[in-house]
Structure formats: C-alpha cells, structure tokens
Amino acid sequence: MTDKYQTTRRALLKKGLGLGAAAALPSSFYINHAWAQDVTYDGGTFDAEGATLNIGEWGGGWEEFVRKALTDQFEKDFNCKVNWDSSFPWFPKFVTQGPKEPVFDICNWNLPNLTQTKQAGDYFLTTDEVKANVPNAADCWDFAFASGAGVTWAYMPYVYAYRTDAGDPVNSFRDFWAERFANKRGTYGTENGLMHAFFMATAKEFGKDQYDMDAAFQALEGAMPMKISEFTFNMLSLIERGEVDIAVHIEGEALSLKRKGVPMDVWQWDSHPILTQTKTISRYSDPMQKRLAFALLNRTLSPEFLNAFGDEFMWRPTNSNADITAPLKEAGVMNTADATKAFWVPDWDFFVQNKQDITERLNSIFGL
C-alpha cells in the first residue's frame, strides 16, 4: 500500500466534515428549489422565453375549439408552447408521478375526479392562492370555488332529457320512475360523472339526505331495466331514435338535440346539482409554468372566451360579467346572483370515500 492511500486522523475528520456538509445539502436544496419560490401574476402578458406548459384537457371537438379560441393565441402572446394531453384519466397519472413532479401544470376536471385526486395528496393550490393571482376570478360567483382547489369556469345543470311525444311533460324528479317510461329510461355506467350526480340526487330525493345510500340503491333497483350508456352523446342518439324516452343528461348538450328538431325537451332537477368544469394549478410546478398556468386560467375566465365557449357548447359561465348564450337566454336562463343561488354541489368528498361500495353495488344493479 502506498502513502497516498493511508488515512490519517486529520484526513478522517476532514472527510467527516465534508460528509456532514453534504448531508445538510438536501434541506437547503428544498428551500431553494424552484417550486418553493413565490410566484405572482397580475393579469398582464409576459415573455415565457419558449417555456412549455403541460395541460390536461379534454380532446376531440372540445380540443379543436379551445385551441382555436384560446390556446393558439395564448402561445403567441406569451411565447410559450402548450403541451396538450387528452388521454384521460388524470388521477393515476398524478398519483404515479407524485405531487412534487406534477404531470400537468394546469388541468381541467369534473369534480368527482378532482376530489379523488385532492384527497390523495398536496397536489393543487388552494382557491385562495389561485384567486390572489388570477384577476378574473374576482368576478366569479361563489360556487366557482366550492371545490377548494382551482376555479370552476363553466357549468351546466343536470336535467332529464325526454321525448315530448311520449306523454305529458316531465315536471318532477320522480317522473323518471313513472310506469310509462318502463324500459325506456337511460342513465350511465358507474364511471361516468353523470351517474355519480344522479346517484347523489336520488339519495337526496328518496332518502333522508344525500348521504342515504341505501335509499338510492333501492330507488335505482326500482328503475330497472334501464339503458346504460357510456357517453352523453351516445345517449342523445338513443333519444333521437326513440330507444330511450327519458334520460339523465346535461342541459346544453340535450338542448342541442332539441335545436335539431327532435321532439324533446329538458327538465332541470329541483335539487339543482350542476356539472362543472374546474381548472386546478399544480402546487409544485416550476415558477414559469405556474405563472403561465395563472395566465391561462385568467384567460379561461375572461368573458370573451366564456362567451365564445358558451355559444359553441351551450355551457354557462361562472364569471358574472360573461353572457349566457342566446338559446339559453331565450329559455329564460340568466347569469345573475339570484339565478345561481339555488345550485347544489353534491358532497363529492363523501362520494369519493364511498366510491368503491357505490360502484360495486351499482354494477350489480345494472347487471354489469
């Protein structure tokens, strides 16, 4: 062995000190890590220097419209690139990557899936944190922040879509169970958000409150046989063909069929639950991405975009300064504080906690 490999006491102490210092490094790394820095946004445009913003958003015709009406211009204005992922579901992607390596910087959700992810970890900024950095959020109705994470930007009431040539107009939630609709009722598979809302509304109607699952199971058993669909647009085709006379649906999509001349109408449930589109911002995104996410959410909440989106898909805006699209306005829908007061957001925390039991039981009722 040569001298240079011999360890002296002094050298050992030096190495020990070095190791101690190295061991202390991780804590300072986290303190100075990019996502730990404060990011603010005031509503203006800025140069993102070609940064990439990862977004989780629906695809198909929705994507084509939103790209044209929102993100294409956004990329030019902010000198950034939008990475659009439409391969739903988001939940497993978020959970697999963990909160500190967020799969998306900004993500669009329906509330049950959002709630499931929110319960799984510290993934998202709170509504207060978002509100402080998204100027247009100040103009939104209070229910836009009911999720506790992110901001709801558009919504539609749940309705029954029914054929008007199949008897008297529908005017009660329990009409779905009427004898005349036997074997002509339509609802959705257990993974569809509309079925989740229908389940909670049924519990509220037939039980003590929205938490009365047994009452809902019993009522849904009484509604069988039903036609079970996976998608709302597929349900519209069943209504159009007369295979279904009454179906769980959402206002705008159902009315789009009425506008095509099919003899049908909608009836809004008297418990007034709403289907929502909510955007969250990931807590641990890097500063530039987080800033871009604030900016994109701010543009999403702008009356200009919400008006265009409402005209295309007949969703209602949560921004009090945006307009209700003309066909809904003609039907008496208004965007006022009074008009939004009755809306009910089911307790999705409860639903998610009991989702496995609910899913299994519903699958057995549906014979799936």
């Binding site: 695809g59 198909g60 739903f88 697999t96 597929n234 159009e240």
Partner: protein
Amino acid sequence: MERKIPLPLLVLAVLGFAYMLLPILIVVLAGLTSGEFLTFPPEGLSLRWVIAFLQSEKYLSAFFFSFRLALMTMVVSTILGTAAALFLSRSRFVGRGAMRAFFLSPVVLPGVVVGFALYAFYISAGMGISRTIWGLWIGHILYSTPYVIGTVGAALATYDVSLEEAARSLGASPWRAFRKVTLPNIAQGIQAGSIFAFIVSFGQFEVSLFLSAPNSEPLPIAMYNSLRYKFDPSAAAAGIFAITLVTASVLLTNRLVNIRRLLDRQ
C-alpha cells in the same frame, strides 16, 4: 384432385367469417351515414363524414402519427421477435418454456396493466421517457413483438434444420447459411408476424392511453376522444380509413409474397 369440405363445416366457416366481418361492415356503413349521430342502420348514405375526416387536422395528424408509429414498431418488433423465436427454437436449456411464456406475457396481460406498469416504470426509473413518443414506441414494441415470436416460431417448428446444416457442411458461414437457407424458408412467418405487429400497433388503445405523448395522439385515442365529446360519425369515417389501410397492407404483402414465389420458381 379437388378436396371437398363437408357441408356443415363449410356453413360454420361462412357463418364464422360473416360474424367476424359484420362489425367492419357496420363501421363502414355508419361512417357513410347522412345523419348527425353514429348510429346503425345509417339514415341515408352520404360522404359528409368522410369529407369531415379529411378536413379534420386533428384526425389526419392522428392517422399519420399512428401510421408512422406502426411502421417503426413493425420494424423493431420484426427484428426482435425473429431473433427471440430463433433463440427459443434452437436453444435447449432448463426454463425455456418459462422464458417463452415470459416473452409472450404482454399479450396475456390486459393492455391497461401493461400501459400503466410501463408508465410507472418510466417514472420510477427516472428515464425521462414517460409520455414521450419514445416511451409510447417501446410500449407498442413490447405489445407487438409476441405476435412476431408466435408466427416465426410456428414457421420454425415446421422448418427442417438439416437444410441449414447441409449448407454449413458445404462451407457456408453461419450467417450465409441463415440468409440463404433459413431466412427464405421462414420468410412467410416473418411477413405474417410483421403484418400482425403493424396492425396491433396501429389499433392499439389501452397501452397508448397511459403512454401517449402530449400533442401526439394515436388514431384510436383520437377516435375515443371524439366519441366522448361528440358522438358524430366522423369516428366511424376514421375507422373506414383505418380498415382500408390495414386491408391494403395485408393485400400488398400477400401480393409481394406471391410475386417473390413466382420469381423463385423462375
């Protein structure tokens, strides 16, 4: 001498083919509907949804992306699958059966499981290929290669190894013996396997669901998204083009094989 097929067997075969081809016919007719929704039977015939497909930037980019991905997958799967089949057929060692089962396992497992497992693996390994085209490509190769192993393995099972041994005994190098003797004999198995790999990759949905990269949607995912948010028949119109492509590739390959056979005879 003409071989006669027993009538009951013939009827069963015709019914079987009809049963398998019926969904294709339904997709084609649904894509040619003049109605607003994806329904069967179609409400009159029209090319409006075919034109809508051809004008849709989203669909066209997804179609060509899937085509390129399937081609890339086919090339690698064919090489890997052929090598694996040769190894399995020519090696004698304990655990060969287990290794064969291992190679074929991606087909046995549900695609969603394979897709999610790969996705989780990419992330935990820190390879930086989760939700990239490369990660998706690896997933497709993994899922397509067993089909090549299966078809090439079947070709090798009926191949007489003594032919190659004869070539070696006449002085051919191992590579030359393989290229000149073995390869032409198992070529049909390789071609069938490569077609399978192409078709499986082109129509792959479950694996792509977790692995597809942002802004690069394979056609099945684009069709699924279209059905989720707009139940219009453009998805069926896209299906017509997918069916046409797959049928054309099968026919073309058959044609090439036959031409070569013809040349070989001359």
